[in-house]
């Protein structure tokens, strides 16, 4: 067991080292374009993490997370172009708008579970999507809103903003890493355990005294926070916001990414998002039907690896490091006569 933990820690360290080195290593190895692809992967993996928090840890499958992503985007874009806000207030507005929307829709949605929950989340996101399309004066509709980037930090005449590609990359990396770290803390906390209990058995959870409705609502707002941060980052990254990102295709992508990567594992969404965006970037230039690959991979994973690729990896690693040990433990642990 300890060797498995050591291997995973080493991998995590290697991942961190790679991500930090990206602005220098990737241009040297490939070109500048791939730095922004990796930044994009980071943002979308945070979005997939919001699906994962709900599905993997609370047992609620949301097909409407794009709604909160879109609110994160529009909060930033409207904040800057209409309200004249600077970087941080606009960022805050985006995240707050996403969380507020999650609260309002969550009050109704988390009364339901399973397919009813999935359907109501889609319905909410479709309603708002069409509202956003038709209210062009506010949202710009399909064309969206373009805005000029404000500086992120200004200090003594010197300023840093997303126009500097390296600064942009590190800001995104730091924000995404912080969110994943918070999620890691959450999973190990009393609140996180309560989420897991509800996922496993909601009737039993209520009988031990957990307020299942309120806890699901809290999780839903937290997922709205993650999606909102991702949306706000993506708005700064693309310098625009568009209603098209609220469409349920976007929500569905995140569900596939999270499940293929591994729902209920912290880094599953990162793995899933990475694979699918790499496939898209590499294959789509050669073959227009690249989504076929997405479909086939998704079906295979759902059939053969219910805990996704990360779950498969955990299983394999445990078997490898505990070979021979498992059987012995089994016989030793039996206490029944």
């Amino acid at each position: 067991m300890t060797s498995a933990v050591a291997i995973e820690r080493a991998l995590l360290f290697a991942l961190a080292a790679f991500l930090i080195s990206v602005p220098w290593s990737i241009p040297a190895l490939v070109n500048d374009f791939w730095v922004s692809v990796i930044a994009e992967i980071l943002i979308w993996s945070l979005f997939a993490a919001s699906v994962n928090l709900l599905f993997g840890y609370v047992g609620l499958l949301s097909f409407g997370q794009a709604l909160y992503f879109g609110f994160g985007m529009y909060g930033v874009a409207i904040g800057i172009s209409d309200l004249g806000l600077s970087f941080w207030p606009a960022f805050g507005l985006g995240v707050a708008a996403a969380m507020a929307m999650a609260l309002v829709t969550g009050i109704f949605a988390v009364r339901l579970t399973w397919h009813y929950f999935a359907i109501i989340t889609v319905v909410f996101s479709l309603i708002v999507y069409f509202l956003a399309l038709s209210n062009k004066w506010l949202t710009g509709g399909d064309d969206g809103i373009n805005f000029t980037l404000p500086a992120t930090f200004s200090l003594g005449g010197k300023s840093w903003s997303f126009t500097d590609a390296t600064f942009q990359y590190f800001f995104i990396l730091a924000t995404v890493a912080l969110c994943f770290w918070l999620m890691h803390r959450l999973i190990g906390s009393p609140l996180g355990r309560a989420f897991l209990a509800i996922r496993d058995n909601d009737v039993r959870a209520s009988l031990i005294g957990l307020n299942v409705y309120r806890l699901r609502l809290i999780a839903f707002i937290m997922a709205g926070f993650l999606a909102g941060v991702a949306g706000a980052l993506f708005a700064f990254f693309g310098r625009y916001a568009s209603a098209s990102y609220m469409f349920y295709h976007v929500s569905g992508d995140a569900v596939v990414w999270a499940i293929v990567g591994g729902a209920g594992t912290l880094l599953g969404p990162l793995v899933g998002t990475t694979i699918f965006i790499l496939v898209r970037e590499i294959v789509s230039t050669h073959w227009e039907h690249h989504s076929l690959i997405v479909g086939v991979v998704a079906i295979l994973v759902v059939m053969f690896a219910p805990k996704g690729l990360v779950g498969l990896w955990h299983e394999w690693l445990t078997r490898l490091t505990e070979r021979g040990g498992a059987a012995a433990v089994e016989t030793k642990l039996r206490t029944e006569p």
């Binding site: 918070l182 190990g188 906390s189 009393p190 996180g192 355990r193 897991l196 009988l207 307020n211």
Partner: protein, 259 residues
């Protein structure tokens, strides 16, 4: 006499045309282990579901320590100190045995910390370790609850009831599906528990019922048929007819009475 621990007045539950619990008035005095028996479909589990809030009643009221708890949500009733086990064993299958106890111990807290490691709570850790020892599952603490044997799951459920420090414990067929050895262990545990908390137990195993109960209530068709001490119940003609009519059970009851 002091206020009964649990009291129901004309409690009623209908499922369509079927009246599962029919104007049931029940009273549990403190300090007694009370068993509810009755044929299948008598409304025993429905009665538990009404008391614990999993079902809402169609009429009547439930009082716990004098407080009207009719219509409260399951988690609110649980927090008042009424805990229960389910007939179909019900734990958190993907969590480790220790984590099942851990979350149960922490569930009653008003504020669940979102970021501090759960394992840092030393009081809870000691409670979990003590409970694991009490139910004899210390060696299986890190096993996923879903991989346990049926008897061990039942013991874990009793452990979860135990760690939440209930004032009233509702056990729904706790020994159902257990091997004789497991049953013996569970019965010992229940008897031990009954010294400190009030317990109502639904049970089909007559050996268990007559072995541990101070009082027995017999239910049939949603109502109370008879109520009294094990000897009185065993001697009751109506009970014999309605429920204990089968030869082997009747013989057994004879033995118990004469023992």
């Amino acid at each position: 006499m002091s206020e009964p621990v649990l009291r129901t007045e004309h409690l009623t539950k209908r499922f369509g045309g079927l009246t599962a619990v029919d104007r049931l008035s029940f009273s549990l005095a403190g300090g007694r282990l009370h068993a509810i028996i009755g044929p299948n479909g008598a409304g025993k589990t429905t009665f538990f579901n009404l008391v614990s809030g999993l079902l809402s009643s169609d009429g009547g009221r439930v009082y716990f320590l004098g407080r009207d708890i009719t219509g409260l949500k399951p988690h609110q009733i649980s927090r008042l100190g009424i805990k229960r086990t389910l007939q179909i064993k019900s734990v958190f299958p993907q969590l480790a045995v220790a984590d099942n106890l851990w979350i149960t111990a922490q569930a009653g807290e008003r504020f669940l910390h979102p970021f501090r490691p759960a394992t840092r709570d030393r009081g809870t850790r000691e409670k979990v370790e003590r409970t694991l020892e009490q139910i004899g599952l210390s060696a299986l603490a890190q096993r996923q609850a879903g991989t346990l044997s049926y008897g061990d799951v039942a013991l874990l459920e009793i452990g979860m009831a135990l760690i939440s420090e209930p004032r009233l414990l509702l056990l729904d067929e706790p020994t159902c599906g257990m091997s004789p050895a497991e049953t013996e262990r569970a019965v010992g545990k229940i008897r031990e528990l009954a010294r400190v908390i009030d317990i109502i137990i639904i049970e089909h195993d007559m050996e268990v019922v007559f072995g541990i109960a101070d009082d027995i209530t017999v239910m049939a068709q949603g109502a109370i048929l008879a109520s009294g001490s094990p000897a009185e119940i065993a001697a009751d003609e109506r009970v014999r007819e309605a429920y204990l009519g089968r030869e082997e059970d009747a013989d057994y009851v004879e033995e118990e009475v004469h023992a």
